[in-house]
Symmetry: D3
Subunit: 142 residues, 6 copies
């Protein structure tokens, strides 16, 4: 079992807020992240895939193919977009880094299995100080 | 003459577009950066100040004071804001990295002179691949 | 279960040595790190907290609150300090990166539980080449 | 149980290909990485060792000794070398990052036990976007 | 006058040596960089372009266009290549970082003028410790 | 004329203070940097040398030789040292980053001329936010 990680990036706008909160409640709970005029980030995404090394290629999964898959299924839907308004797989979810990691996991898990690997982790760095990582639903049962 | 540099950061939303362009023209000229729903970045700002080293302190300018000045005059007006809609010193300017560097120079130059230094350069990294730097209006005459 | 990580930093002086060693023994065991006149580092601290994502906020724990907690309980006691002489929670411990990680865990674990999360890991980068990580006392029983 | 990590680096040439493939098959499977004239990378190696903290030193293992060991057993054999042609422990293996991580594990495991630690992980960053990590043969049974 | 910088990357093999030197002379002058079996690097390229900011776009030069130009004229000829054997614009030149910076300048200068900017600097980081920068032939006369 | 840059690093303790100031005055002027028990940093040093490219080697100056020179003349005197107490070339100078850059320039200028290059710049990053750069005494006359 070897773990390989592919880094991809996207730049997006977002806002943390709830429709059922007043502007004041949103500000109290989410601080400056609730600005109604949006703000944004350079998000860095790390997708880790595990599996045995195929003797014929020396690969768990071809990292170039993995990069293409992540760009097609995830990055193209997020890059230069508004996460609250324009990203189908974030519809109805608060646009937090935690929820983004879970949603990206759900977009990628089955697709990565088709490539022959097992999705192990989705990590997102929102800033150099803040990041979130999701290891899948089975992690929750421990 | 020694040059000191202070790094500060801000996260903001923006959009590249012209009111007098149609949506199609904006897309042709500015590409995905013209998305009407905004996108955003983690901007990294480097402000370089030059001057002689004061014998009494060993400083050109106290870097802690310089950091406070940059945060008060620039970062607090940009951080978690929409550059097109909410930043007084960017009003009426296209929200490009180039224009942002020039505008930040104008906000800081006189204030830095009051601290006892001479503003030498404002550099902004918009992403790890793209940056802009302004060395002031006198640079243009060369 | 999602894992969130907050990065904080501090600059401190330290020395690796034992009172019950001669200067020569200290030099033999700890090398240049035993210099009696001290040396120092820019320490980078990564605190990872795990927990379910609260549906109301999209957060495991508010990363801004986590940052404030780490700065108040840990960084303010270490930053611009001498780790051997001035840091109450390092008193009586060798000032190694390993011991620092364990001590910071002990300072933070209960406080993070009050915020609603579970401390998962404390990692400290002493230089770009050297780091230590502690996952808590239960890790030892495995 | 504390985990310490030492970073080392090496610059090497390599090529991904199989002798039993035609040039076309190699190009189809390995893409531009199969260039018969070689290409190369700045490889960054992270070796993580775990163990209890020795009360006498505050160390899991002396990081300076660990660094020397990694340089002697691994880096000196790879640095400024051709991984396909000149590295004994890669002989007969496809020069993928995955295989390199496994081979470095095998070179280091016993040696690190002699230093008093337990090898936990070998991670290699081939580029800023691509990396591989190996946690040893016991990881495979899970 | 504003300066914009675009970062691009390429991974290549090379060797420092002279045909008219014996293997021993090459080793004496170029050290391990003269290894006849090649070694390689992840090269990071920074291209800086200067010019006035166009009022219509807020750009010195569109950074996306600049990136495409650099990839087409320079990166595609170097990436996953052997600099000594396969790169037309390095033919007959020692494959040092200095010479690479000069050669890339020559490939780009006129093309960047066609985009409407003035090439100011070509900088190449060969490793995190070593880099070279060329500011053009006029710099030599000073 | 090509500019080459070598990066080196050192970890040191220091304190900003004046003997002729009271503890209160030192605290007012230098803040937490005046802590009498010292603090420290991982300093990163960038030395830039300019000159024509030698046709025989493709080098301005051999970067390996330049690295050895910087380590011998500068890094070995600073690394794991107390800058205020133990570094001959900082004796009698306030241990600010500005003064350190000037002092390192003075240590290196003549030595680099012997290697065949011209010292162009000494830059020191004290933290990721603070740095100082010195371009030599002739810069002051402009």
């Amino acid at each position: 079992m070897v773990f390989i990680t592919r880094r991809e990036q996207f730049n997006a706008a977002h806002r943390l807020f709830r429709d059922d909160f007043s502007e004041e409640e949103n500000l109290r709970v989410f601080g400056k992240c609730s600005n109604p005029n949006w703000h944004g980030h350079n998000y860095t995404l790390f997708v880790t895939v595990k599996g045995p090394v195929a003797p014929q290629t020396g690969f768990v999964v071809n990292l170039a193919s993995l990069g293409r898959l992540i760009r097609e299924k995830v990055v193209e839907k997020l890059d230069h977009r508004n996460i609250n308004l324009e990203v189908p797989f974030m519809s109805g979810r608060l646009a937090s880094t935690e929820n983004l990691a879970v949603a990206i996991w759900e977009e990628l898990e089955e697709e990565i299995r088709k490539l022959g690997g097992i999705l192990h982790s989705v990590r997102i760095n929102e800033t150099e100080n803040n990041s979130a990582e999701y290891l899948g639903p089975e992690q929750e049962k421990e």
